[in-house]
Amino acid sequence: MKIITIANQKGDVGKTTSAVTLAHGLAMTEHRTLLVDLDPQGHVAFALGAEKAPGLYRLIVDEDPIDQVAVQARENLDIIPGDKRTEKAKRTVVISNFPTEILGRILQPADYDVVILDMAPSLDVLHVSALMASDWVIIPTKLDAMAVDGVNEVLRSMGEVVERGHRLGYSILPTFFDRTTRETVVQLQALVDTFKGHVWPPIPQDTHAREAPAYGKSLWEYCSKSPAVMGYGTSLVAGYASTLKRTVEVVCE
């Protein structure tokens, strides 16, 4: 089982959209997938047309087993939904004996091929616990200076985790790629100059990605031919289809 965390402390960079799209994509490619919402906004359930629920709270505070808390959202795709009680769960984590190991301990018995953790835009104990449990981190980032700074913050947290002897790989996923603005390209070039092969092909800015959650559909269901999925025009080199291929490589490594 591979655990992949989607993280960036900066908000509104496409974490939940990426988590939902990749989780459903993995499920469609026959990987039994669990998507865990660690954000008190509870948008994972919303994006897949399910009800928000205190899933993470039940796992951490009530210590209910995963199979009782997980909700089937699609074929091969279960979710642990979240809601505002996730915030209370965090307080329980803080006062627990081994706060940074709690998620790893909870997820260890899960019977899935892949677990995807959708993080809240913050750097708290749950965040560190998720990194400690993970094999790989995908860091979505908008191509602006502040969001790219968020990438550095996640990498610093990962550095602390690696210092504790945990092996952790990562990829940076540029989102909201707008090929018409020079700043986007400048920031992409800066990311590539710094992080080289860790940078995955970008996700084009696309209104479909904003519309799909309103219908409770993933992008594969709502518009599988959209630029966000297939990339721009004839180049077809970016988009979630190419991100999914790379994520499958990570899962099968």
Binding site: R182, L188, K196, G197
Partner: protein, 116 residues
């Protein structure tokens, strides 16, 4: 130690492709306005280099002049018709095949000497 080592690319090839495209657009944007349209058109063109016998090239040039079209569009037009006839089984390549001395290909196609 295995000799079959594949060095991982420093940059994801798809990302490199996107950056190359952006660099091309930036270069075009820096050109004087009068040259930009031609540069964009050139960038959008799909250019290929193929070997043609000189006498066939000359024949194509003469037909293109006569019909007042470009050689490229004439070759594209005739090639498309040729491909359709090949697919329909109206053109057989086997009678024109000769063994090739080039290691990359098994055969070479002999062209008819009369082009006109």
């Amino acid at each position: 130690m295995s000799n079959n080592l594949n060095r991982r690319p420093a940059i994801d090839p798809a990302v490199a492709d996107i950056l190359a495209g952006a660099e091309r657009k930036k270069r075009i944007a820096s050109l004087p306005k009068a040259e930009r349209a031609k540069a964009r058109k050139d960038a959008a063109r799909h250019k290929v280099g193929l070997d043609l016998p000189p006498d066939l090239h000359e024949t194509l040039r003469q037909i293109a002049n006569k019909e007042k079209v470009s050689i490229s569009s004439l070759v594209a037009f005739l090639s498309q018709h040729g491909v359709e006839e090949y697919r329909a089984g109206k053109i057989a390549l086997d009678p024109h095949k000769r063994l090739s001395r080039c290691a990359r290909f098994e055969y070479v196609l002999m062209l008819d000497k009369t082009c006109e």
